[in-house]
Symmetry: C2
Subunit: 264 residues, 2 copies
């Protein structure tokens, strides 16, 4: 099978132009098929707060009323997605910026939560990834850049978690490619001590993960990310790593201690 790299970058990288440029340089140098998924950064919150729209995040998910959705789509699918696309083009990387609505590639439904109304937040449907269109674009030598916006197929755009999107894409495409799914953020991986960057845990099994959660070493923000990572690995994604965006080249070349590798 051909290799496919699915790389997710978080908001902290997007908010730092120097780190973003370094990351995009490393991303553009990867040989072969690749997909980038990006989160949002601080801009959505900034614009919403300037407009007097109070923002609430619960477990990393933004409560998304109609006005917040508009701002989120503007920021994610507009400014961030097209800025990244233009920067990648300048690096001779033939990027095409997309949301899940484009070519109907990712469909979702409004998040159903027993007690919280998250508004226009979308959960990707079990059959929500249209692999055929994605493969068609990859085989046309396009590099796909997804923002974390999906739709319900009935005209409604939905704000969707970028980690979940990366995981769902990796799972759907692991039948057709040998997928490496890399979650990039501002830390070196899963750390035994959150304040010590040198305490990297190079490999993490489900039982290790459970133990770290019980000991309170894995913090709140890391739990949804790691849940997505373990879920992808469980559903046969061939390689799943969590590491520092600045070390992407080392992670891709599987250098020792370059990231945390997620085990079965």
């Amino acid at each position: 099978m051909e290799k496919l790299y699915i790389i997710k970058i978080g908001g902290n990288i997007i908010d730092n132009p120097v780190e973003l440029d370094s990351f995009l340089r490393q991303f553009s140098a990867i040989d072969g098929y690749k997909i980038l998924i990006h989160g949002g950064g601080k801009l959505t919150t900034e614009i919403a707060e300037k407009a007097g729209i109070k923002q609430t995040l619960i477990d990393g998910r933004r409560i998304t009323d109609a006005e917040t959705l508009k701002i989120a789509v503007m920021v994610y699918a507009g400014w961030i997605n097209k800025s990244i696309t233009a920067k990648l083009q300048a690096l001779n990387c033939n990027a095409i910026g997309l949301s899940g609505a484009d070519a109907n590639m990712i469909t979702a439904e409004k998040c159903k939560h027993p007690s919280i109304d998250f508004g226009f937040v979308g959960d990707i449907l079990p059959d929500g990834i249209r692999s055929k269109s994605i493969i068609q674009l990859l085989e046309s030598d396009f590099i796909l850049v997804f923002c974390a916006v999906t739709h319900n197929g009935k005209g409604q755009l939905l704000n969707t978690n970028a980690d979940t999107m990366a995981s769902a894409l990796a799972v759907a495409l692991s039948n057709d490619f040998e997928v490496s799914l890399v979650f990039c953020f501002e830390k070196n991986g899963v750390l035994a001590d959150a304040n010590d960057d040198s305490s990297l845990i190079p490999e993490l099994s489900v039982s290790d993960y459970e133990a770290l959660k019980q000991k309170g070493i894995v913090t709140k923000g890391m739990i949804p990310k790691l849940d997505n990572a373990f879920n992808a690995r469980k559903l046969n994604v061939q390689n799943v790593m969590i590491g520092n965006a600045s070390q992407l080249a080392q992670i891709i070349s599987k250098q020792k201690d370059a990231a945390t590798y997620i085990l079965n």
Copy 2:
């Protein structure tokens, strides 16, 4: 040659949800290859003015400083482009929303004006349309939806006139397709009396156009639109029409008096 429809809609249609829905229904019903190019509507000006960024338009071109560019890209490539894409998908029209930066499809350079600094406004380069990528996507059965944002190939996004973009796309693709270029707006076409919708001029030659300009019948806002239309016709675009967005089906089926047809 296969037929290709290139349809441009203006801001007044985008700002009216009922008219936009009716237009999109008619657009989605067109058989065969098609491209939609959309302008911006009032949202960019609204957001910029709320943020205290004064907006200046000269001959229909927006003076675009860095902050205005950010807002324009958010609105055009983000909210409007993805809303239209999601609506078309709901109509079973396999739309994919794009800017000129995506797949490097449209490159431009910063507008050079002898006396006015337009900022981040882009003029499409003579060889700025990458037909090969556009044809590849059309032949993959995608419907392309372009917002009026381009890039310079060096990482800089640029705000570009949507009429000019439609005209440039039509010219570049008229070698490979029999192109019908339709400029849709809120009037029935070119009118002999701007206040009388029944005074449609069904056919317009260059000499008629010159005469209408001299008599002051063709108004300021119409001149750049008609210049783009005549330029496309002169450069061998097979069919060029200007008409009412609500009459798209009649225009496409070449009904009598459905629009103004641009003659050589």
